[in-house]
Symmetry: C2
Amino acid sequence: MDDTTDPTERTAAGPTTAHHGPVTLINSFDVPEGRDDAFVELWTGTSRYFRQQVGYRSLRLHRALSPTARYRYVNVARWASAEEFATAHQSDEFFDLVGQPAWKEFPSNPSLYEVIVEHDA
Amino acid sequence: MDDTTDPTERTAAGPTTAHHGPVTLINSFDVPEGRDDAFVELWTGTSRYFRQQVGYRSLRLHRALSPTARYRYVNVARWASAEEFATAHQSDEFFDLVGQPAWKEFPSNPSLYEVIVEHDA
């Protein structure tokens, strides 16, 4: 998928067959130079909704250390299941949040993943 | 940065000013349909090197749940510092690994990040 500003495409596509177990959203954002504060404020307000949803587990918002990075911000969020992730993205409150005009400045590219290799030092 | 198959560009650009504290590599891979096993085998062999390096903390290899995802695989790896991350990417062994012809099939887009928001349910 290409980067999008369409509210109806701000949800990562789910699995095409039944999927059990935890899932990870990786959502990458384009943020113009000098617009970091505006982005973080908007993102934080939107993320407050997700933090209250059933199945939400954790999030990490990453900011690029180099200006040459393809995406300046990447959110990595874990959910208990693809089903609960999908449910959280179907409410009126969700569409109100991602439909805010301010979001048009920050295209994103959300995708849903499963962890297939996990290793800690 | 665009996706690359150039071994000299298989390292995420570091911070442009001094940076202290942990960093996260987010490395996204293009993998053609039907080539999952070949990719995972190659990636696993390469990741064995990183697991032994000073400053390496953890990795999670993610596989997309939907065929429409922009990137089929994403590695999220934590390092203790940008300096130790850079050192691990300057050895002859590193260049031998990423110079393997098999890697030409799998362009990637590595970028280095810092976590600026962290939340757990």
